[in-house]
């Protein structure tokens, strides 16, 4: 069995053409993660360019209104480029540069990872090509233009369901065609080893900070840490440093779309089964013959038929719980947090907020929730307006 296992999940299920490159990436990462110069460079980028550490914000108004647990938001939406994705891409693009690559490729769903990758590529002088489902280029047209402004080429992917999974397929195909000068900058804690580990490590800055911040502010650990889960990178980053703190409940919020009892859903943990896809063993939405199911969510960033292997493992061992949240619940939460806290959160993050709205009132006043706001919601405003039947011209 190969490396990169999380229980039975994970592994390296990719074409032979990529194996030497994947090993080279593993070796490079193992070397540079302990290289003081690399660590210092990345730390400087995180602080001076991305704006880290991100705030841990006490949402006093919501706390009082809901009348239960104290609510803190980990504000990844305030990072440069407006989401947690920058944490990972700065690390990976810097790593690509150290490996002597001159070109990066990346998939994107909502466009946040694409924008972040294009940003890091612009800063670090790399050629950049982004693959995005045709469907998503329509839902997130502004982000397409944003990436182009940053100097990236955006390829609309028209195969399959023309969404995130197809963009990942296209990236893997492109990487297979051209590995010498190119690194695939994967956007989530998924794909073949070492990607789930690399992305988790770069994203774990979220929980490293949050843990120190809450100890500073409250003198104790939180009772709940929660985040939205598509592939699962912001959730993995939010959970990681708390995994050994057994008293901290970890909750991942998946996109249920129209509901887990409909076929318009992307809630992999709720409806998925074990499988092997996109280089990893994990849970996937699929039929009895293993055909990957078309998934649906109002959120282009959670519209993915699988989940990272470490999440699958955390579910198996009962360390984390995963709950489905519908489109309607997420949109209501999107509107609620805007009204109550003056924060326009990404529709992805609003899935976590929606579940928070359910559990916070049930908890005691001396309990604490940390909910990660993975991104800001400016990109979603037009889509939410459409959802509410308002015709906006961007």
């Amino acid at each position: 069995m190969s490396k990169g296992r999380y229980g039975k999940h994970g592994g390296q299920y990719i074409p032979e053409t990529l194996m030497n490159e994947i090993h080279a990436l593993e070796d490079a990462y193992e070397h540079y993660k302990n290289d003081p110069e690399f660590v210092a460079e990345l730390d400087k980028l995180n602080r001076e360019y991305a704006g880290r550490p991100s705030l841990l914000y006490y949402a006093e108004k919501m706390t009082k209104k809901l009348g239960g647990a104290k609510i803190y938001f980990k504000r990844e939406d305030l990072n440069h480029t407006g989401s947690h994705k920058i944490n990972n891409v700065l690390g990976q693009v810097l790593l690509a540069k150290k490996m002597g690559k001159t070109r990066v490729i990346a998939e994107t769903g909502a466009g946040q990872h694409g924008v972040a990758t294009a940003t890091a590529a612009a800063l670090l002088n790399m050629e950049c090509e982004i693959y995005m489902g045709k469907e998503d280029t329509i839902r997130q047209a502004l982000n397409v233009y944003r990436m182009e402004l940053l100097g990236a080429t955006v390829h609309p992917v028209e195969t399959g369901t023309a969404t995130l999974k197809d963009a990942v397929n296209a990236c893997m195909q492109e990487w297979t065609a051209r590995v010498d000068d190119t690194l695939y900058v994967l956007g989530s804690v998924m794909g073949p080893h070492p990607f789930p580990m690399i992305v988790r490590d770069f994203q774990s800055v979220i929980s490293k900070e949050a843990r120190a911040q809450i100890l500073e502010l409250e003198g104790r650990l939180p009772d709940v840490v929660m985040a939205c889960v598509g592939g699962g990178s912001n959730a993995m980053g939010s959970f990681y440093e708390f995994i050994n703190d057994k008293e901290v409940r970890l909750i991942g919020c998946e996109a249920a779309g129209h509901g887990v009892d409909t076929d318009k859903t992307a809630a992999t943990m709720a409806v998925g089964t074990e499988g092997v896809f996109h280089g990893m063993k994990s849970y996937f939405c699929q039929d009895e013959y293993g055909q990957i199911a078309p998934v649906y969510s109002i959120s282009a960033g959670l519209d993915y038929p699988g989940v990272g292997p470490e999440h699958a493992y955390l579910k198996d061992i009962g360390r984390a719980e995963y709950v489905p949240v519908t489109d309607e619940e997420a949109v209501q939460a999107f509107e609620y947090i805007a009204r109550e806290e003056g924060i326009i959160a990404a529709i992805e993050s609003s899935h976590a907020v929606a579940h928070l709205l359910k559990i916070a009132p049930e908890m005691d006043k001396d309990q604490i929730i940390i909910c990660t706001l993975s991104g800001r919601g400016d990109k979603d405003v037009a889509a939410i307006a459409r959802y509410r039947g308002i015709d906006l011209h961007e």
Partner: protein, 257 residues
């Protein structure tokens, strides 16, 4: 002697690929027999998958046609069982791993044996992961075909030393599909393989002309043609059999002695 060995027994092998169920499973059966009549020594049957990450547009579209027509793994096994009544041509599946995983490795391999499949080619099962499948497959006499890529280099010897059936030499980077020029030094790869094993090696990915068939059959034990065949099926649909015969006969006539 296994059926796959027969394919390479006396002469260079022409290996043809088609996607099962494109346009229908009845037609797949007919096409395979026609390919054999035209001189194909082995046929690869693609099990359609929703997300064929190693395939180019031509085979991707064949997957869509087959799945839209309702093709499933179970129906393919039934077709193979019927086909096996009519021919002894070696048959191997080309399938992504999830199809086998979801079906259950043991159950899948058992049905391969019962229906008359001789081997499986799994593009997303690299050497590092093959142990989860190979011992089960071997119990049922199914060869898990080893794929060697242009980037394999120092990995080759270790990968091929216990290879069974044949070795699939991927001639080009990227996905399946016709190429006008193949830039990989296939000869060097074949030499490395031959220094480590007697298992025959066939070259695929990009081969579509008689000239390429001649060139690569001269250095390898066989050539594999997929997208060019699938393209004929895409164009002529249910009436593709005579066109397949014509194309494959021509390709076979180009094989080295």
């Amino acid at each position: 002697m296994s059926r796959i060995k027969n394919a390479f027994d006396k002469k260079k092998a022409f290996i043809g690929f088609l996607t099962a169920g494109d346009p229908t499973l009845d037609k797949t059966e007919e096409f395979v027999l026609e390919m054999e009549r035209a001189g194909a020594a082995l046929v690869e049957l693609g099990i359609p998958f929703s997300d064929p990450i190693a395939d180019g547009p031509v085979i991707q579209e064949a997957n869509v046609r087959s799945l839209s027509a309702g093709c499933t793994t179970d129906k393919i096994f039934d077709m193979v069982a019927s086909l096996r009544q009519k021919t002894e041509i070696p048959l191997v599946f080309l399938s992504y791993l999830n199809t086998l995983y979801k079906y259950g490795y043991d159950r899948f391999c058992k049905r391969c044996q019962e229906s008359g499949i001789d081997g499986v080619i799994i593009p997303d099962l690299p050497f590092e992961e093959r142990e989860e499948l190979a011992p089960i497959a071997s119990q049922y006499g199914i060869d898990v075909i080893t794929m060697v890529a242009p980037t394999s280099k120092e990995r080759i010897k270790n990968m091929v030393k216990d290879a069974s059936g044949f070795i699939y030499v991927v001639s080009s980077m990227g996905v399946t599909g016709a190429r006008s020029e193949i830039t990989t030094d296939v000869g060097e790869i074949i030499d490395t393989i031959r220094s480590a094993t007697d298992t025959p090696a066939a070259v695929g990915f990009g081969i579509n002309t008689k000239q390429q068939a001649a060139t690569y059959s001269a250095i390898a034990d066989g050539v594999i043609v997929g997208s060019a065949i699938v393209k004929i099926i895409a164009q002529y649909g249910e009436d593709a059999a005579p066109k397949l015969y014509e194309y494959i006969s021509e390709m076979v006539s180009g094989l080295a002695e």
